[in-house]
């Protein structure tokens, strides 16, 4: 057991760190540090920079454009990217549908979609949740009826993140209403420009509109856009949900946020002295750092175990990463709120090119919206309660 990085790993870390410093466009970095909204163009621009380096889809197999890195190298890359802080390559393509296509898709699908996912030529969104199918995802009702060489899709998806930008949506649809509900689900790739698709934004409590409802009204989907076999979609969905094993904890982003907390707490005066000098505040921050360090070590242990695991099976320990990662990120957002204090009050919509002078410190405006927005973290990707169910069942055998 040697938990230090080897000289080779340290050299790799320096290489990645150097690349991030040199290549992450300053305006994007600034938005990330300030916690401001990223435009579609920011995300596309950055992913294409990564892709030009061969680093947009590092965890894919090498023959599909991935990097033949060890799990530790993958971890280091992700940690450095997050600490930069840089946007992650668009997860709906790179971490969700991409690996599903690689594992279960046809050769034609691989050739058609994978390079465009890597370069973010196609913006993907995720069509899983429905109004009646949240935690109980398998009860989804959006129906696909076979009609010759097409499926005809009718129904509704909800909480579809950034569907407003999307070129494609991957969907779980019901192709069989008989028998077990898990056994009648099919995984379809649907062109968002298809006739009969309507996207309606949902404004969330922070004032943003990153999630949407997506309606399907007699949408024709070619059969060639089905992934794998009909009625086997639930297996692919489980693979997808358990796939993002290590990124889910977002440890690197939380490390970067803790640096930001130190910075902002030094700028903020409380009782005539910087808030960072307040013992109670420092103790809260230290407690958070300890939780984060423990999570980082837990994550590294999960990463190390990947070498000896079946890559097609989800690791139930990733549920632990999800829960602690969510708790820590939400605690970060609470501490930020504590720093900004009364200047959390003014509401200023985060729109590009707004010329109104800020009320209070120029860093104050995004903090309260972020706090509200980040309540989602313990809800999405399987709520923390669902993760506890998974741990109880898959690890504890209850």
């Amino acid at each position: 057991m040697d938990l230090r990085f080897t000289p080779e790993e340290l050299a790799f870390r320096d290489e990645v760190r150097h690349f991030m410093r040199a290549s992450l466009p300053a305006p994007i970095r600034k938005k990330m540090v300030e916690g401001r909204h990223l435009e579609k163009d920011d995300i596309v621009r950055w992913q294409r920079i990564l892709n030009a380096k061969g680093w947009a889809v590092t965890h894919w197999p090498a023959e599909r454009g991935g990097q033949d890195w060890t799990p530790v190298q993958q971890y280091i890359f992700q940690d450095e990217l997050q600490q930069a802080p840089a946007p992650a390559p668009l997860p709906f393509g790179v971490s969700m549908v991409g690996p599903v296509i690689i594992a279960f898709g046809s050769e034609a699908q691989k050739r058609r979609f994978l390079p465009r996912i890597a370069n973010l030529d196609d913006w993907w969104c995720q069509g899983f949740s429905e109004p009646g199918a949240g935690s109980d995802l398998a009860s989804l009702k959006t129906a696909a009826k076979r009609d010759g060489e097409h499926y005809i899709v009718n129904g509704q998806k909800i909480w579809t993140t950034m569907a407003q930008h999307a070129d494609w949506i991957f969907c779980l649809v019901r192709t069989n209403t008989q028998g077990k509900k898990q056994e009648g689900i099919t995984f379809l790739l649907i062109d968002m420009r298809s006739k009969g698709i309507t996207v309606r934004p949902i404004v969330t409590i922070d004032g943003g509109a990153e999630v949407n409802e997506v309606f399907f009204d007699d949408v024709k989907v070619p059969v060639e856009n089905r992934v794998g076999a009909e009625n086997k979609g639930w297996d692919y969905a489980k693979f997808l949900l358990g796939n993002e094993r290590t990124g889910i904890a977002r440890v690197g982003y939380s490390k970067e946020r803790i640096r930001r907390i130190r910075e902002l707490a030094s700028l903020t005066r409380d009782g005539g002295r910087p808030l960072i000098e307040d013992e109670r505040f420092r103790e809260k921050l230290a407690s958070l750092e300890i939780e984060l360090k423990a999570l980082e070590m837990t994550q590294l242990r999960v990463v190390a175990a990947e070498r000896t695991r079946d890559p097609k099976k989800p690791d139930p320990y990733s549920s632990m990463l999800k829960i602690k990662g969510a708790e820590i990120q939400q605690a970060v957002s609470e501490l930020m709120l504590e720093i900004v204090g009364p200047y959390a009050l003014p509401y200023a919509p985060d729109t590009e090119g707004a010329n109104e002078p800020p009320v209070g410190p120029d860093w104050a405006a995004p903090i309260a919206p972020t706090y509200f927005n980040w309540r989602k973290i313990s809800i999405y990707g399987g709520s923390n309660e669902i993760q506890k169910n998974i741990i109880a069942k898959a690890i504890l055998g209850l």
């Binding site: 790993e9 970067e256 103790e283 300890i290 360090k293 423990a294 999570l295 109880a392």
Partner: protein
């Protein structure tokens, strides 16, 4: 970076695990507690045979050249079994003082006996008003001819009653609470002027109040340079925190497993109570707390051998906070999920709770260390 044990370490883990599984059942433990020494001399002999009493000492000194990982392996197994022998007191604490501060001559004269199980040591450092301040030493030592004379009172000396020799801290200069002026001495258990009042502890171990009234020791009883022993004391405390973290993880792992087993077998309302979601979630939270503690115990183990004093101190503080908090959470949930049976002395769960709680209150509790860490600028500092 890897989390793998070497083949030798795996072997050690297997053999310590087997030893404890074969000879340290709960009933056996109860009989060890009731024995005159309050622990098992028989087990102590078996530890010696297995080589774990000399584990952390250099081979040149008669030890087995193990590092922090080896100590972690042993302590985790002891935590699982709730072992009550003076391993921490003798090997980690007093033995640590020898390792970090003892002369070659001192080590050569003591380590072989310690490793054979023929000698038990204790670390007599804490004092009445010290609480968690390692520099609070009021016991005095003064020069007397070719030796020293020690006067003072030591408290909560773990296994101080069983010890053949004690490592005693005393001040030869400086003010109480100051790092300068502290010295360490080896004192014979039967030295004239030394008296011990022994008592059991909450977690079924033993401790003693030790009074030193003009106890005379020769010059070669001094460990390290006179008046400059504080770094040794601190290092020993840090090693002990790493060891306690591993022990706590072992205890938490067993306690969680015991609780999960109970949830599967205990039936109410016609079903196993583990089928109830509210209890499943508690059990999941116990596992998370245990795993977070395990991660920090590994972190502490890794950092125990770091030569960066500040980073090492921060890591130990962080680990102690985590095991304190996780240990309390896991043990409280375990008792609650067991219900009435968890409250009884005849059942194992409560004994884990007692040990975990005492571990938190040794060498600085969670609040103490989070304050220390906050004052030191946090865990990540500027480097993250």
């Amino acid at each position: 970076m890897d989390f793998d044990l070497t083949p030798e370490q795996s072997l050690l883990k297997d053999s310590v695990g087997r030893l404890m599984a074969d000879h340290y059942g709960f009933e056996k433990r109860t009989s060890f507690i009731a024995s005159p020494d309050g622990f098992s001399r028989e087990m102590w002999r078996r530890y010696a045979e297995l080589g774990i009493l000399g584990l952390p000492f250099a081979e040149a000194d008669g030890g087995f050249g193990g590092g922090a990982v080896e100590t972690m392996i042993v302590l985790e197994a002891m935590g699982r079994a709730l072992a009550i022998e003076p391993y921490l007191a003798s090997v980690v604490l007093a033995g640590g003082a020898l390792r970090h501060g003892g002369s070659a001559k001192q080590r050569a004269s003591l380590v072989p006996a310690l490793a054979r199980g023929d000698m038990i040591l204790a670390f007599a450092h804490a004092e009445r008003d010290a609480r968690y301040d390692l520099a609070h030493v009021a016991t005095r030592a003064r020069r007397d001819g070719a030796g020293w004379v020690i006067d003072g009172e030591k408290t909560l000396v773990l296994h101080g009653d069983a010890a053949d020799r004690l490592v005693v801290s005393a001040r030869i200069g400086g003010d109480v609470g100051g790092a300068d002026g502290i010295a360490l001495f080896l004192v014979e258990g039967d030295a004239p002027g030394l008296s011990r009042r022994a008592y059991p502890t909450q977690d079924a171990m033993r401790a003693a109040e030790v009074t030193l009234a003009s106890v005379r020791v020769p010059d070669d009883a001094l460990i390290g340079a006179p008046g400059a022993a504080f770094p040794i004391v601190r290092r020993v405390a840090e090693d002990a925190i790493a060891a306690l973290a591993a022990e706590a993880v072992g205890a938490m792992a067993e306690l969680t497993a015991l609780t999960v087993e109970y949830l599967k077998t205990r039936r109410q309302f016609g079903v196993p109570i583990g089928s109830f979601q509210v209890l499943q979630h508690r059990a999941s939270e116990m596992l998370i707390a245990e795993e977070q503690a395990r991660s920090m115990a590994m972190f502490a183990t890794m950092m125990a051998e770091s030569e960066d004093d500040a980073a090492r101190a921060r890591a130990m503080a962080a680990a102690k906070v985590q095991i304190g908090r996780s240990g309390r959470f896991v043990s409280q949930q375990a008792i609650q999920l067991h219900g009435g049976i968890g409250m009884t002395m005849e059942y194992k769960a409560g004994h884990y709770m007692k040990r975990l709680q005492m571990i938190d209150l040794m060498l600085g509790d969670a609040d103490h260390h989070v304050r220390a860490l906050a004052r030191a600028g946090g865990l990540f500092g500027d480097a993250a």
